[in-house]
C-alpha cells in the first residue's frame, strides 16, 4: 500500500468517475481515489460482498475475480486500472458448471475462500477446457484455504471441465 500523500487530499471533491463493465452491466463508480482497489469498491461501495478480503496484498486469492477471461486479484486492481475493463464476480455467475461441480463435490467447509477458488477455476477452464491434474494444482495454488478443501476442489474442477465450464 502507498502512504497517503498528505498535501493532495484536499482536492478529492473533483475525483473522476470510473466506468467499468461488471457482471454484464455498466457501472459508474465516482467519489473514489484513483488508487482505491477494486476489492473495496466492490465490497464497500457496490455491496458485492461475495468477493472476499483475505490479505489485501495479493497472496491469498480470496478476492479473485475475472477480468475478461483472466483471473485477477481485486485487491491488486485500482479504480483507474479498472476503468473501461470488463469484470465478472461470483455474483455474475449463474448456475455455472463450476458452481454446480462445487455443490456436487460438496467442496465448502467454512466457505469463505470458495468464491475466489471458483473464479480461479473459471479462468483456468476458460483457458484450458481440459486441464491436467498439474494444471489444476498450479492454478489453484494461488489461493489459500485454511479448512483444507483442496482435495475436493481438485475433484470439482475436473467435474466442472466435464460439465463444459470451458465452453
Amino acid at each position: 500500500m502507498v502512504a497517503a500523500p498528505a498535501g493532495e487530499s484536499c482536492h478529492r471533491a473533483r475525483m473522476p468517475a470510473y466506468k467499468l463493465q461488471l457482471n454484464g452491466r455498466e457501472v459508474v463508480v465516482d467519489g473514489v481515489e484513483a488508487d482505491m482497489p477494486l476489492l473495496w469498491i466492490l465490497r464497500d461501495r457496490l455491496g458485492l460482498t461475495g468477493t472476499k478480503y483475505g490479505c489485501g496484498v495479493g497472496v491469498c486469492g480470496a478476492c479473485t475475480i475475472l477480468q475478461g477471461g483472466q483471473a485477477v486479484r481485486a485487491c491488486q486492481v485500482t479504480a483507474s486500472e479498472a476503468a473501461g475493463k470488463r469484470f465478472t464476480t461470483i455474483e455474475g455467475l449463474n448456475d455455472h458448471p463450476c458452481q454446480r461441480a462445487w455443490l456436487e463435490e460438496d467442496v465448502a467447509q467454512c466457505g469463505y475462500c470458495q468464491a475466489g477458488m471458483i473464479m480461479t477455476a473459471c479462468a483456468l477452464l476458460k483457458n484450458k477446457p481440459r486441464p491436467t491434474a498439474k494444471d489444476i494444482d498450479d492454478a489453484l495454488s494461488e489461493n489459500v484455504c485454511r479448512c483444507g478443501t483442496y482435495p475436493r476442489i481438485r475433484k470439482a474442477v475436473l467435474l466442472a471441465a466435464k460439465l463444459g465450464a470451458g465452453r
Binding site: R45, G56, D106, C110, Y112, D138, G148
Partner: protein, 708 residues
C-alpha cells in the same frame, strides 16, 4: 436415562398453535434444567431448530438438523435452523472442543422423539385409532390400515395441548443419520450470498480499523491524527484501549488513514522479548520436575538397572490461526443498548464482555452470530468484539471494526510453544519398560488467567497436557509432568489445542524407540496395546486400547504397511486417542526429492463413534491433515524485539494445493452407540506420522517444528 428423560424437556406454552419443545444440552440433573435449544413445528409444517452452535465449516448446521430429522421423521426439505442469540436463558453457545455433536446427540434426539410421540398421540385421537397402529414418515403420521395421512402441520395445535411423554422412545435404526448428506449452505456459498462477519452491512454503517502498538504489551503514548483526517473518506480518529482507530466511509479509507497516523508508541514492559529466548527458558525449565500428571510403576529401580536409556527433546513453535476471514465485528451502541454482529465462536462471552465494557446489563446487548470464515479456536476470543464496541460507543454510529491481515497475524493470540523432554528405557528385547514425558509450556492467558489454586492442581495440568498423560501404551513405569514457564504473549486455543505438540513428541519418540529396539513401529504399538487392561484410566479419561488397535490395524492394511519402498521414499505411522473418545491413526507416504520432502499420500483410519454424516467426517480428516501438514512443513510465528515477525501468508506460509497429498479416509467404529468429535482429533497425529515417514525416507529424525 430412560427414567428421567422427560425432566430435560419443556413444552413452551408461548408456541401458540405451534408445537415447541425446549431442551437442555448440558443439564446432568433435572434440577439443572434450563432450556437452551428448541424444536418448533409450525402449522405450515416447517420444522425449526434453534441452537447456539456456530457454523465455521465443521458442518454443524447440517449434521444437527440431520439428527433432528431422523428422530422426528421430518421432511429434510422442510427443516430450518435458526441461530440462537445469547441471553440469560440461552447459555453455552460456545462452539469448540469438537463437542457440538457429542453434546447435542442425546438431548436433541430426546426432544425430537418427544415431539414425534406427541404428534402421533394427537393423530391417534383425531383418527380414533391406537397410537401403535400409526407410523411416521417425512412429516406425516400414517395409518396404513386405512391409508389415512395427517401432516405434522395439521397436528401441532392438538399436540401442543398434550402432556410431555415420560420417556420418549428413541429409534434403533437410522435412515438419515449415517447417510452422505450435503452441506445446507452449499448454494449460498457458491453464489457468494453467504454472509460472514465481514459481509454485514447495516444502514449508515461506517468502517474502522485500529493501528496497534507493534510490540506485544505496548501502548500509545501520544498521537497526531491531523494527516489521517485529511485522507479522503476518513471521518474520525479515536483512541481505544488497543490502539488508535480510524473511522471512515469505507475500508480502504480506514486503512489509508491508519498509514497517515503519527503515533508515538509506548514499548511496554517487554520491548526486547524474543521467541528464541523464550525457547531457551523452556529448555532451562525442562530440568525441573514440574507438576506430576501421571505416575505408574517403579521408575527409580528401572533407571538404576543399567538398561539402555534413550532421551530426546522435542521443540514446538508458536503458530497463528490465520483464518482467511480476518477478525471483525459490527457494533452499534445507542439508547442504552448495544447491537453486535460478529463471526464469533463464543456468542455468550461476546455478550457478557461487551455488556461489562459498557456497564450495561447483558440483556441490553444483542449478538447476531454470522457464518464464521474460519474459527480454529481464534474466535473463542472476544477481544475483537470489544474493539468494535469501544469504537461504536465513541462515535455513536454503527461501525464495523475490521483487522487487516497483518493485524490478524500479529495481534491475535497464539498456539503455545513447548519443549518436550522424553526419556525411555528399553529392555534386552527392545521393549520399552519406562516412559517419561515432561511438557514444558505455558497456559492459556488470552481469555482467562490461571488461578492460584490451578497452579498446583494435577487435574488442571492434565487438562493442559492432552497427549502427554494419556499415553495409551502398556509400559511398566510411566511418569508424565508439566512445567509452567509464564509469558506475557497472548496464548489461546488453536485447533486441537494442547494435543498437537504433545502427540508430535510422544508418537515420534515412540518411533525412535522402535528403531532403537529394532522393532516394527506398528507391531510394537499393537503389542503394547494388546496388554491388559483393555481400558486405560488416565485422569478422568478412559481410553480403549482395542479401539485404538482397530484403527491401527485398519490404517496399516489400507496404507500397505510393511511394503518395501524404493530408495528415497518412506512410510510413517502414528496414532492418538483424542479426549479419550476419538481414535485416529495415519499412514503417511513421503518422497525426498533433492533435499525437499514431498508428501505423496495420507491414509487415515478414524473411529469417532457412531457416524452422523460421512461427508462431514471426511472433510474434517482432510482439513485436519492439511492443517497439521501446514504446521509441520510451512510457517510458524516468531517474535523478535517484542514484535511478531509475520504479516501475511507470504511469511506465515500455509499448505497450498500443489503440496497437498492424496488423502484417503476409512471410517471404522460406526458400531458405537453415540457420536464423538472429529474437527480437532484429526489434527494431532498427522505430524508425527509425517516426521516418522521422513525418518524412514531419509534417516533424518525431525525433533523441531516446523521443518522449513
Amino acid at each position: 436415562m430412560t427414567l428421567t428423560r422427560r425432566a430435560f424437556l419443556e413444552l413452551t406454552a408461548a408456541g401458540g398453535s405451534a408445537l415447541v419443545l425446549g431442551f437442555d444440552v448440558f443439564a446432568q440433573a433435572a434440577t439443572d434444567f434450563a432450556p437452551n435449544a428448541w424444536v418448533r413445528i409450525d402449522p405450515n409444517g416447517v420444522v425449526t431448530l434453534t441452537v447456539g452452535k456456530v457454523e465455521m465449516g465443521q458442518g454443524v448446521r447440517t449434521s444437527l438438523p440431520m439428527i433432528l430429522a431422523e428422530e422426528l421423521d421430518a421432511d429434510w426439505e422442510r427443516i430450518q435452523l435458526v441461530q440462537g442469540m445469547p441471553s440469560a436463558k440461552l447459555r453455552g453457545l460456545g462452539t469448540g472442543g469438537s463437542y457440538s455433536i457429542r453434546a447435542m446427540w442425546m438431548p436433541l434426539r430426546n426432544a425430537a422423539a418427544a415431539a414425534r410421540e406427541m404428534l402421533v398421540s394427537a393423530a391417534a385421537s383425531k383418527l380414533g385409532v391406537e397410537p401403535a397402529s400409526l407410523r411416521t414418515e417425512k412429516g406425516f403420521v400414517i395409518h396404513d390400515a386405512t391409508g389415512q395421512r395427517l401432516s405434522y402441520g395439521e397436528l401441532t395445535t392438538a399436540a401442543a395441548k398434550l402432556p410431555l411423554p415420560q420417556s420418549p422412545k428413541l429409534k434403533e435404526k437410522f435412515t438419515l443419520v449415517g447417510k452422505r448428506t450435503k452441506r445446507i449452505e452449499g448454494q449460498s456459498i457458491v453464489s457468494g450470498k453467504a454472509v460472514y462477519g465481514l459481509d454485514v452491512r447495516i444502514p449508515d454503517m461506517l468502517y474502522a480499523s485500529i493501528e496497534r502498538p507493534p510490540k506485544i504489551g505496548g501502548g500509545v503514548r501520544r498521537f497526531d491524527a491531523a494527516k489521517a483526517k485529511q485522507v479522503a473518506g476518513v471521518i474520525d480518529v479515536v483512541q481505544v484501549s488497543r490502539g488508535v482507530a480510524v473511522i471512515a466511509r469505507d475500508s480502504w479509507a480506514a486503512l489509508r488513514g491508519r498509514e497517515a497516523l503519527q503515533i508515538e508508541f509506548d514499548n511496554g514492559p517487554h520491548p526486547a522479548w524474543s521467541s528464541e529466548e523464550y525457547e531457551q527458558q523452556l529448555f532451562e525449565a525442562a530440568a525441573k520436575d514440574g507438576i506430576s500428571t501421571r505416575t505408574a510403576g517403579d521408575s527409580k529401580t528401572i533407571l538404576g538397572s543399567g538398561k539402555q536409556v534413550i532421551e530426546a527433546d522435542y521443540v514446538y513453535p508458536f503458530y497463528a490461526h490465520a483464518p482467511v476471514e480476518p477478525m471483525n465485528t459490527v457494533a452499534h451502541v445507542h439508547d442504552g443498548l448495544c447491537e453486535i454482529w460478529s463471526s464469533t465462536q463464543a456468542p455468550n462471552d461476546v455478550q457478557d464482555r461487551c455488556a461489562q465494557l459498557l456497564g450495561i446489563a447483558p440483556e441490553k446487548v444483542s449478538v447476531h452470530t454470522t457464518l464464521v470464515g474460519g474459527g480454529f479456536g481464534r474466535r473463542l476470543g472476544w477481544d475483537y468484539a470489544l474493539d468494535a464496541v469501544e469504537v461504536a460507543k465513541a462515535i455513536g454510529k454503527p461501525v464495523m471494526v475490521f483487522w487487516s491481515r497483518a493485524d490478524d497475524m500479529q495481534h491475535g493470540y497464539f498456539q503455545a510453544p513447548s519443549v518436550h523432554r522424553m526419556k525411555a528405557v528399553l529392555d534386552e528385547d527392545g521393549l520399552p519398560v519406562l516412559w517419561h514425558h515432561r511438557k514444558v509450556s505455558t497456559y492459556h492467558n488470552a481469555r482467562r488467567q490461571v488461578t492460584s489454586a490451578q497452579l498446583q492442581d494435577p487435574e488442571y495440568h492434565r487438562g493442559v497436557s492432552w497427549g502427554v498423560y494419556d499415553v495409551p501404551y502398556a509400559i511398566g513405569a510411566i511418569e508424565t509432568a508439566y512445567v509452567y514457564v509464564p509469558t506475557h504473549v497472548p496464548i489461546g486455543p488453536w485447533r486441537a489445542v494442547f494435543a498437537p505438540s504433545s502427540v508430535f513428541a510422544r508418537e515420534t519418540f515412540f518411533d525412535e524407540l522402535a528403531v532403537a529396539g529394532k522393532r516394527d513401529p506398528l507391531k510394537l504399538r499393537l503389542d503394547l496395546l494388546a496388554a491388559a487392561p483393555e481400558i486405560v484410566e488416565a485422569g478422568s479419561l478412559k481410553i480403549s486400547r482395542p479401539r485404538l488397535r482397530r484403527v491401527l490395524e485398519t490404517v496399516a492394511a489400507k496404507g500397505r504397511w510393511g511394503e518395501k519402498l524404493p530408495k528415497g521414499r518412506g512410510r510413517g505411522l502414528a496414532c492418538n486417542v483424542y479426549d479419550g473418545v476419538t481414535h485416529v491413526a495415519y499412514v503417511v507416504d513421503v518422497t525426498a526429492v533433492k533435499g525437499k520432502i514431498r508428501v505423496d499420500k495420507v491414509v487415515c483410519a478414524i473411529d469417532c463413534g457412531l457416524v452422523v454424516n460421512p461427508i462431514g467426517i471426511e472433510q474434517q480428516v482432510e482439513g485436519g491433515v492439511i492443517w497439521g501438514l501446514s504446521s509441520a512443513l510451512k510457517g510458524a510465528i516468531t517474535i523478535r524485539d517484542g514484535i511478531v515477525q509475520q504479516k501475511s501468508f507470504a511469511d506465515f506460509e500455509v499448505l497450498r494445493m500443489n503440496e497437498t497429498p492424496l488423502i484417503e479416509t476409512h471410517i471404522v467404529g460406526a458400531d458405537a452407540p453415540s457420536p464423538y468429535g472429529v474437527g480437532e482429533p484429526t489434527v494431532a497425529p498427522i505430524v508425527p506420522a509425517l516426521v516418522n515417514a521422513i525418518y524412514a525416507a531419509t534417516g533424518k529424525r525431525v525433533r523441531r517444528l516446523p521443518l522449513a
